[in-house]
Amino acid sequence: MKGARFTTQQNGADMRNAMKFAVGVVILLATAATAPAQFFPYEVQKKTLSNGLDVIVIETPEFADVINVNTLILSGSRNEVEKGRSGLAHLFEHIAFRHRFEEPANSYDTRIDAMGAFDNAWTWFDVTYYHPVTFATNLEGLINLQAERFVDMKFSESIYRTEAGAVLGEYRRIASDPSLRMDEVLIDLAYGPQHGYGHTTIGYLADVEDMPNSFRSGEAFYETWYRPNNSVVIVSGDVEAENVFRLVEKAYGSWRQGAVPEMPDVAPLKGPKYGHVDWSSQVPPRITQAYMIPPFVPGSTEAAILGLLPELIAGQTSPIFQELRYDKKLATDMFVGRQSAEGFDARLLETSLRLDDAKFGEQGSAMFKEVESILDRGVAGLAKFSQRPNAAATLDALKSRYRYDLLASLNSPHNMAEVFAWYYRFDRDPQVLDKLVAAVDKLTPADIDRYAARHFVPANKVVVTMSYKAGGAQ
């Protein structure tokens, strides 16, 4: 049996045999350093409806009675191009839960409650993801309800304005953390206002405060981006694919296709660029150093390297982690985000550190320069990775770690669907998880050298620092 396929005519017995084979593969993974035939132990079944909607089914019958009906919209804050309307994708995610709110007997809320479903969603730069979970007996009801809200969402201006208050509350909830302000400065420096990556997903405070007045923009956002050809339905759990395909086709068939506008290209960063945030609360200082890296293409060498970079740069074995945290004790915390660097367009690979407050008190902003030069040595220095005496062994350890971490993340129907959705969006390949792993397996130390030499250069670099100053921002 060969990995994932598009639709299936298999009967139940064949399926079970297929699954047994898959288990063998998973266990093999634990021992073999070389790539086995298949990494993801489940068959991914796919059908594309005539309106362009991709339907994915991952049958996990051993998770008896549990189903997820997830909807991935291939748009997020990257698609907010209207000035003064940052945060709209996220607000709209909230609005999707207010479908028919003013019809108490028939509202989305009421009907979700009747199924006792747990229902939540998240918004990011590239995508918006809705992920309700309930029991298998509710499969048809949940598919129909999801279809109804996405195909024909009904929301009034009054409810729209009320929900804007909840989003403002969400902004306030994170505003005491200087990360938000640092992010705003960082991505504005990197992308500017002409690209949707230039503002945070929650949006600027002024825009969030003005959200009650964005009703028309909200409607337009829905009309433009909530289209079947810009969406994926992913159902996982105790389901049968043929049944799901039939139900989804019936419920979503009337969803009208739409032209999906192209987004502007990312302009070259033209770094190095620097920004600083004065913060009015007495918090430890921070620094974020970021490099612009290429768009994520699953299966490419560059995407595979990105999978290893966070551990390579800021893992506990990395030379600069040890220098900053252990030897010089300049930083009390250090982090590199991988997922935020995986994007449709060129994203930033960010290394963020919280610095030692007492040392900063003695050294002042010279400490920022010292930390930056150590980071440069560690990140740009990867251009000579293959010359390290243990380069091959390090790379093998990182490959093994990558597989175990990916395997560990696929630990429930909900998590499988979410991890799958995250990567599927790029090129709509049902075998994407296997493709990622295969590309990682092929990497050589020289690939790391070439990547670093090409991308970790001053022209791609942006640095933002933050420290306490009475009367600063908050």
């Binding site: 208050g165 909840a166 093994s400 770690r401």
Partner: protein, 553 residues
């Protein structure tokens, strides 16, 4: 027979990414009480909890019945520092120790989960690790055995970790408004007990801890008889060698183990408010709480669980408080209630296990709101709680809460790690059947009469504590409102954007849409509800996490 299907479902949930062909037959007896298969003296042996997952990744959790409540007075933060320096303070042969750097190298190829992670709660410390099954032998010989049997507790590492923990405290005061409020309500409600400091400790406590304190805590509390060991498989080839290692911990080391004195909860007299002044707080955070005697074994646990599901299920839109405050009125991001304490609420959608405790409290959490709404919402939540206590829930409300609670079960037991953690908590509490094992049946069995009687017995509004965090500019006004017991309307008709109308007499007013009439009537009840606060205490944020008391004296 939905329920029985689901029960079968739970058993099979354990299989995770692997499937029927490889499943190990499920044990018919509850696994939670099996003794560890290791030859040690009775009473000096860890208790074993297993699942039957055939996954190539084995989850191992070692829970000590000692957490931050066991910190000696004046040494707050010790349990946390011991756990961190056990992992990072070098272990094994002193001539060639496994330093933190070496540990990172050893575990790197086995995945992020292979690095031991310590979760310190009030009464427990749990070490979590995920080990590739085929690497178990190497893991035990290179990591687990030397870590548990020959820790070095290097003084330089203790100092580094102490310093990093100080940064954590600083961040807890200044960057995380929500976490600060959640910590503060616990410390306030349980003031005077050993729950009144957080696991990360205090400025003064951390400064006072010596290496001898660390070693002595380890010797006293890290004893096999004090351990609940969790392993995600029951395969003896995996379980036995792990048990042997755990039972070697502090072997032959003399130390007496005395249960920490938790202190007695002082009954709350009347309604008391603590206002925490954080100079630049961007919004106000609001909490209410009081101690309750209900724990997992209490006969009212499940009725109260259902009542709380109705009132304020964590991160769920069906809760009553969420509906009232967020959905209908748009004040904030969420509003929840709790009958059990757990850390990690700002980041997790579902309860995080392995934090069992003997003293619980009831609480309500209103996520940040505009400063001026703190006072009217204090009234709102108290009125709503009062109303619940006075009128109870209808059959329909109870049925709907039970429905929600049942689906929550799917999330609570979503992964092998969660199932294992829950089962270890069962061993701590002595729950039989366990929390998840009996969950669906227990929820199903609850009647409306039981719910309402549990509400009357355990919930009340006469004696409670509030914590409000707000900025300096708002403190005087809030204090005056509370002391003056003022009526206070939150959002106005103008805020709700009702249509303006001209009356016959020429004056202007608002036309209340029919659909919002009930909401407006409720607002009026909230606004006029007297809080009758007995004491108001205002304290700067710097007074928290400083000494072993809730507020530094």
């Amino acid at each position: 027979m939905k329920r029985y299907n689901l029960m079968a479902g739970l058993a099979v949930l354990l299989l995770v990414t692997s499937l029927a062909g490889c499943a190990i037959p499920l044990s018919r007896q509850p696994a939670s009480q099996q003794p560890a298969p290791a030859a040690t003296q009775s009473g000096n042996m860890s208790r074993l909890v297993t699942l039957d997952s055939p996954s190539p990744l084995v989850a191992v959790k070692i829970m000590l019945r000692a957490g931050s409540a066991a910190d000696p007075v004046g040494k707050e933060g010790l349990a946390n520092l011991v756990a961190a320096s056990l992992i990072q303070g070098s272990f094994g042969n002193p001539a060639q120790p496994v330093t933190k750097e070496r540990l990172a190298e050893i575990t790197q190829p086995w995945g992020e989960g292979a690095m031991p992670y310590a979760q310190v709660a009030a009464e427990t410390t749990t070490f979590h690790m995920t080990i590739p099954r085929d690497e178990l032998g190497s893991y035990l010989s290179q990591v687990l055995r030397p870590m548990l049997t020959t820790p070095q507790f290097a003084a330089s590492e203790i100092d580094r970790l102490r310093n990093e923990t100080s940064a954590v405290i600083s961040v807890a005061r200044s960057e995380d408004l929500e976490g600060l409020g959640l910590s503060a309500i616990e410390m306030s409600v349980l003031e005077g007990t050993r729950y009144q400091h957080q696991p990360f400790g205090t400025d003064d406590g951390l400064a006072a801890i010596t290496r001898d304190d660390v070693v002595s805590f380890f010797r006293s509390h890290y004893r096999p008889g004090n351990v609940i060991l969790g392993v995600s498989t029951s395969d003896p080839a995996v379980v036995s060698p792990i048990s042997v290692v755990v039972n070697e911990m502090n072997e032959g080391v003399a130390a007496s183990l005395s249960a920490p004195r938790m202190g007695t909860v002082t009954p709350i007299a009347g309604r008391q408010v603590t206002i925490i002044e954080q100079p630049n707080a961007p919004a106000a955070s609001l909490h209410l709480g009081f101690p309750i005697t209900v724990d997992r074994l209490h006969p009212d646990y499940w009725p109260l669980y259902v009542a709380n599901t109705w009132l304020g299920t964590h991160r769920d839109s069906t809760g009553h408080l969420y509906q009232m405050i967020r959905q209908e009125r748009g004040y904030n991001y969420g509003n929840y209630s709790y009958i059990e304490h757990w850390n990690g609420r700002t980041g997790s959608l579902f309860q995080i296990f392995n934090q069992p405790r003997s003293q619980q409290y009831f609480s309500i959490w209103v996520r940040p709101v505009q400063h001026e709404y703190a006072y009217p919402l204090m009234k709102a939540i108290t009125w709503e709680l009062d109303n619940l206590v006075a009128n109870g829930l209808s059959d329909q409300q109870v049925a709907s809460a039970k429905n929600k609670a049942k689906v929550l079960y799917v999330n609570l037991g979503e992964t092998v790690s969660r199932l294992l953690a829950a089962k270890m908590d069962d061993a701590f509490y002595g729950s039989d059947p366990g929390f998840l094992e009996g969950y669906l049946e227990n929820v199903d069995r609850v009647t409306t009469a039981q719910v309402n009687s549990a509400i009357r017995r355990h919930l009340q509004t006469a004696n409670l504590k509030y914590v409000v965090i707000t900025n300096s500019a708002s403190v005087p006004g809030l204090t005056a409102q509370i002391r003056g017991n003022q009526a206070s309307q939150g959002k106005s008709f103008a805020d709700y954007e009702f249509p303006e109308v001209k009356r016959a007499d020429g004056s202007t007013g608002w036309e209340i849409p029919e659909a919002r009439r009930a909401m407006v009537e409720r607002d009026a009840l909230w606004a006029s509800y007297p809080l009758n606060i007995g004491t108001v205490r205002v304290t700067p944020v710097g007074s928290l996490f400083k000494t072993g008391t809730f507020i530094a004296r």
